[in-house]
C-alpha cells in the first residue's frame, strides 16, 4: 500500500477507498478492476474489454497525502491495493487454481460480481481432485489475484471480496 503516513491517514484512506469502490461499482455497472493509488491520488477503473480509465480524484487534506507520485498508471496484476479493505479468499490446499468449472466455460466469478458466502468462486485441483473454493463472505469481488491454471500454495491469496452491508 502506497500510504506511508500515520495510522489516521491510513484509516482515512481506507474509508475513502471503500466509498470510491462502492460508488464506482454501483454507478458504472460491471467493472473488471478498480485501483486506488495513494501517492498521486489516482483512481483507475477497468471495464471488461480491458480499457483503463484514470479518474482524477479531489485532493485530500494536508497530512493525509504522503509519498511523491510513483504509483504506476497501468494496473499490475498482483498489487492487492484493496486487500486491506476486503476479505481475502485463500487457497485451501496446494494445487492448480481454475476460475471456471471446465476449460472454456464461463468463470465462476469476475471482478465486480456480487457473491454470497456459499458461492463457489474457483477450483483448486490437486491430483485430479477438484476442490471447490467458496467465497465464505458475502460481498463484491474486487480483485482476482491469480490467473486460470496457476499453481498455488496452501493459504495463498486468491481473490478479494469487499463485504456488502
Amino acid at each position: 500500500m502506497a500510504v506511508n503516513g500515520t495510522e489516521r491517514a491510513e484509516q482515512l484512506f481506507k474509508v475513502m477507498g471503500q466509498r470510491v469502490i462502492r460508488d464506482v461499482a454501483e454507478s458504472c455497472g460491471s467493472v473488471r478492476r478498480i485501483r486506488v493509488a495513494a501517492g498521486d491520488l489516482s483512481l483507475e477503473v477497468e471495464w471488461p474489454g480491458g480499457e483503463v480509465v484514470a479518474v482524477p480524484v479531489a485532493p485530500v487534506p494536508d497530512g493525509v497525502s504522503s509519498r511523491p507520485a510513483e504509483a504506476p498508471m497501468v494496473p499490475e496484476p498482483a498489487a492487492p491495493v484493496l486487500s486491506e479493505a476486503g476479505v481475502v479468499v485463500r487457497a485451501p490446499l496446494v494445487g492448480t487454481f481454475y476460475h471456471a468449472p471446465e476449460p472454456g466455460a464461463r468463470p465462476f466469478v469476475a471482478v465486480g460480481d456480487v457473491v454470497t458466502a456459499d458461492d463457489q468462486v474457483g477450483i483448486v485441483e490437486a491430483m485430479k481432485l477438484m476442490n471447490p473454493v467458496s467465497a465464505e463472505t458475502a460481498g463484491r469481488v474486487t480483485e482476482i489475484l491469480v490467473t486460470d491454471g496457476q499453481p498455488v500454495e496452501y493459504d495463498q491469496p486468491l481473490m478479494v471480496i469487499l463485504p456488502v452491508d
Binding site: 496446494v94 494445487g95 490437486a126 491430483m127 500454495e153 496452501y154 493459504d155 495463498q156
Partner: protein
C-alpha cells in the same frame, strides 16, 4: 543425478537431507506447514512450498499436497526422511504413477516389509531366526488365547502396521491377554488405520541391536555394521551407539550376515535397518525392518565415513553404490544422544514453550543435527525431538567422556521448556551403561528408582 529433490519432511532431518543435496549440487525444495514457516530448512532450501496447516494429516501426511508441490517446483524425486510418509507404500505408488522417484525401496517391497507380521514371515522363510509366535496375525480373542498358550508368557502383542514404538504391549499374565489384545488392536486402528496384530514371545533384559544396510538396483548390497539402541523409554530410543558394546565379534558377524541375507531375499533397494533382539548368551532374533533412513544414522556415518543420505540419493537415481563391503572399515566409536523437549521427572511428558536460549556444543568430533534456533516455539504438533548430539572418539570410554562434555555445553532454555539432557547425563554415568551391560530395561529401572 536428480537436478531437483523435494524433501517431504520437517525438523532436523529435512535440513540434514537438504545439506547433502546442496553438496551434491542438487536443487532442494522444502515443504512446510504453517507452524514451520520460520524453520531453518525453509530458508536453506532453494525453494519452499507452504503445503498446509500444522496438523500433519493436512500437511506432512498429505500425499496430494506433496505431489502438487513437487509438480509446481519441477522436482523429480521426493525424499521422505523418517516418519510421516517414509514407509507408506501407497505414497510410494502415487509418486511412481506421477513420474516422481520415491527415495526408498520399491512400493511392493515397502508393502511387504512395512507389514510387520508379513516381514517376520518373509525373514523366517529366508532363514533368519525369529521369536516363537507363529507366522500369522491373530484376528480374534479366541485365536489370541490359543496362540498364547503355545508361545508362552511373557509375550508381546504388536500391531502389524505399528512403528515408532507405538502399537505394542507386553502381556505377563494370561488373564490380561484379552484386555491388552483389544487395546493394541484399538491403537493399531486409531494410529495406523489397521487393527491387525500378531504375537511374539517377549524377552526381558535383551538388547536392541540393529544393522544398517545399503542396496542398489544392480545387486550391490553392503552392511555398515550395527548400532546398539538399548537405552529406550516406552520403546523409544534415547541413546544409540556403534559398535554395540560387548557384542562378541562372532555374534556381530552373524547379525550382519543375516541382514544382508534378508536384503537379498526381498529385493530391497535403498538404505534400510534390520532390528534384532540379542540375548545375554548371544542368541539373536529378527524383529523388524525400517525401510527408510533412521534418526540414529549419524553414528554409522561417523565410524564409516559414508554419507548415507548421499548413497540413498545415488541409489534412487539408478547409480550403483560407491562402495563395496571391503570399503566399509568402521573405525572408533560413536554415540548419539537425543535431546527431546520432555520432562524426565514427569514420565517424559512432552513440554511446550518458546526456546529463548539455544547454544549447541562444538569442539572436536562433535556433530549436532538440529533445526532448533533461539526464539523458536516448541509445540505439541510434532515429535518433541529438538537435537541430536553425536560424537566420535577412538574408543567407547573416550566417546562417553566427549558426550558428557558436549552435553554440558548444550543450552536449551525457555519458560516451560524441559529437556532430556539431565537424564541423558545420568544414563552416560550409570555403572551398567559404562560397563556396556545394560539392556532395554535400563531406563525403566532408573526411573523406578527415582
Amino acid at each position: 543425478m536428480f537436478s531437483t529433490v523435494l524433501i517431504a519432511n520437517r525438523g532436523e532431518i529435512a535440513l540434514r537431507i537438504a545439506r547433502t543435496c546442496r553438496e551434491l549440487g542438487i536443487r532442494t525444495v522444502a515443504v512446510y506447514s504453517t507452524a514451520d514457516q520460520d524453520a531453518p530448512v525453509v530458508r536453506f532450501a532453494d525453494e519452499a512450498v507452504h503445503i498446509g496447516p500444522a496438523a500433519p494429516r493436512r500437511s506432512y501426511l498429505n500425499a496430494a499436497a506433496i505431489v502438487e508441490a513437487a509438480r509446481k517446483t519441477g522436482a523429480e524425486a521426493i525424499h521422505p526422511g523418517y516418519g510421516f510418509l517414509s514407509e507408506d507404500p501407497d505414497f510410494a505408488e502415487i509418486c511412481a504413477a506421477e513420474g516422481l522417484t520415491f527415495i526408498g525401496p520399491p512400493p511392493a517391497v515397502l508393502a511387504r516389509l512395512g507389514d510387520k507380521a508379513r516381514a517376520r514371515e518373509v525373514m523366517a522363510d529366508a532363514g533368519l531366526p525369529v521369536l516363537p509366535g507363529g507366522n500369522r496375525t491373530v484376528d480374534t480373542v479366541a485365536e489370541a488365547v490359543e496362540r498364547a498358550s503355545s508361545v508362552g508368557f511373557p509375550l508381546i502383542i504388536k500391531a502389524a502396521a505399528g512403528g515408532g514404538g507405538r502399537g505394542m504391549a507386553v502381556v505377563r499374565e494370561p488373564h490380561d491377554l484379552p484386555r491388552i489384545y483389544a487395546e493394541v488392536r484399538a491403537t493399531g486402528q486409531a494410529v495406523f488405520g489397521d487393527s491387525r496384530v500378531y504375537l511374539e514371545r517377549y524377552l526381558d533384559g535383551a538388547r536392541h541391536v540393529e544393522v544398517q544396510v545399503l542396496a542398489d538396483s544392480h545387486g550391490g548390497v553392503v552392511h555398515l555394521g550395527e548400532r546398539d539402541c538399548s537405552v529406550q523409554r516406552r520403546r523409544q530410543k534415547l541413546v544409540e551407539e556403534t559398535p554395540a558394546p560387548g557384542l562378541a565379534p562372532k555374534t556381530a558377524a552373524s547379525l550382519h550376515e543375516a541382514a544382508v541375507r534378508g536384503v537379498r531375499a526381498t529385493g530391497y533397494v535403498g538404505a534400510g535397518t534390520f532390528e534384532f533382539l540379542v540375548t545375554g548368551d548371544g542368541e539373536f532374533y529378527f524383529m523388524e525392518i525400517n525401510c527408510r533412513i533412521q534418526v540414529e544414522h549419524p553414528v554409522t556415518e561417523m565410524v564409516t565415513g559414508v554419507d548415507l543420505i548421499g548413497e540413498q540419493l545415488r541409489v534412487a537415481a539408478g547409480y550403483p553404490l560407491t562402495l563395496t563391503q571391503a570399503d566399509v572399515q568402521p573405525r572408533g566409536a560413536s554415540i548419539e544422544c537425543r535431546v527431546n523437549a520432555e520432562d524426565p521427572r514427569r514420565g517424559f511428558l512432552p513440554t511446550a514453550g518458546t526456546v529463548t536460549t539455544f547454544r549447541a556444543p562444538g569442539g572436536p568430533f562433535t556433530r549436532v543435527d538440529t533445526h532448533l534456533e533461539a526464539g523458536q516455539r516448541v509445540t505439541a504438533d510434532y515429535d518433541p525431538m529438538l537435537a541430536k548430539v553425536v560424537v566420535w572418539a577412538q574408543d567407547r570410554r573416550q566417546a562417553i567422556a566427549r558426550m558428557q562434555r558436549a552435553l554440558s555445553e548444550l543450552a536449551v532454555e525457555g519458560p516451560g521448556v524441559q529437556t532430556t539432557v539431565p537424564f541423558l547425563t545420568e544414563v552416560l554415568a550409570h555403572p551398567r551403561f559404562l560397563d556396556g551391560k545394560h539392556t532395554t530395561t535400563l531406563v525403566d529401572e532408573m526411573t523406578a528408582q527415582a
